[in-house]
Symmetry: C2
Subunit: 214 residues, 2 copies
DNA sequence: GAATGTGAATTTATTCACAGCA
DNA sequence: TGCTGTGAATAAATTCACATTC
């Protein structure tokens, strides 16, 4: 499944850009565009063309000089590069407002992220179903992961519970290796676990900073 | 309201870190910590101490040599730097799953972001209330902004509608100057409008990339 | 002729390392 | 002595510019 190049050589900032390219390329493909140059793509997403070519170059040589990139081929290559040519199983821990909204969000399953379960410690929500996610008790987590491999955990618990939840999720008997944390705290995890933080109030503060000029 | 330094001199990457420092400092303050050194703070959030000191240095000299930083003072300075010593009015455009979940989310109002309205074009949701946000028809947007100044728009409409929605929101008669876009498309706005993109499926793809090693 | 792929140059961000102050 | 504030050094990311290929 892994590819020939070394992932460690790919700058971390390149990865979200690949997702951006992928989206635009799919849109182009849907409109019947078969070939695109780095310059045309750059114009469409307001980026430098050399940036795009360099980003691709970490993964191989996908283009044709004098011509450009074949759109379907490029989509396929980016999907392979991002590990999207397979399905990943996801659990959501925390069935509050955000967790349940995410459970019913279509965008994830469209990209091959399969929600296999939800967990919460509150009896009020245990047993309820949100989209494909039936809420189980936190106490069932270990048993559940013995029967179903879980690749990714989305954490939507309150801030004060986030670190303890993550400690539990990444414990060897559960073995989750990737965490998307929506709790507004910086969390720690072992080096072999990828953690990505989404922080909504931090995003608003970013806007506030740039709004606050005279 | 604006401060003495030039915002253009502050690296964009510093701004989200300020939000991070702020959160940790508030937690420390709640635990009764009065003073902290850059090194202690760095240890707590897994960052380099010089990074923290340099970030602060863009805004002034808040520390005391040989001692460290006074926690309440530093909180106050960061809040001023981020423009959080005032309240910002926010509208949510798109009353779907995510929009309604955000409307009821407490974290925003705690930071001084005041939800003043929600808008949607679907008759199914117009008139409903979610937390502090009553959903109005999109057609009322112009009238509404004539009566109530709106600083920030959170966009939670479907991807295909995002650019048109943003074009409307930033039009001179509405005058929104900051946009937090949850729609999974890169959107364009005039240079004087700050746009911040939150892309959930891109975050999952990031995890997928690092998961996909042998 | 046109557009890729990539070393080199540049710009931006991080970290070092230390002078200077409490 | 201890820790800040910051120039200088380093590292990382972006952009240029051009040789190379179709």
């Amino acid at each position: 499944m892994a590819r020939a190049y070394d992932k460690g050589m790919v700058p971390a900032v390149t990865v979200p850009r690949l997702a951006l390219y992928l989206r635009k390329l799919r849109e182009l493909q849907a409109r019947g565009v078969r070939t695109i140059s780095s310059q045309d793509l750059a114009d469409k997403i307001d980026l430098n063309a050399a940036q795009i070519r360099k980003d691709f170059s970490y993964f191989g040589e996908f283009g044709v000089r004098g011509v450009g990139y074949d759109v379907p081929r490029l989509i396929d290559e980016i999907m392979k590069s991002l590990g999207l040519n397979r399905s990943w199983s996801v659990i959501i821990v925390g069935a509050g407002l955000l967790g349940t909204a995410l459970a019913r969000y279509k965008g994830f399953s469209e990209q091959g992220f399969r929600l296999v379960g939800m967990f919460d410690s509150s009896p009020k929500v245990i047993g309820k179903s949100y989209g494909p996610g039936k809420v189980r008790a936190m106490s069932e987590l270990e048993q559940f992961t013995r029967e179903e491999a879980v690749d990714i955990a989305i954490i939507t618990v309150p801030a004060h519970a986030a670190q303890a939840t993550i400690d539990r999720i990444v414990a060897p008997n559960i073995g989750v290796k990737a965490v998307l944390n929506f709790a507004p705290v910086k969390v720690f995890a072992p080096k072999d676990v990828v953690v990505r933080q989404v922080d909504l109030s931090s995003e608003l503060m970013f806007l506030s900073f740039y709004l606050d000029r005279e």
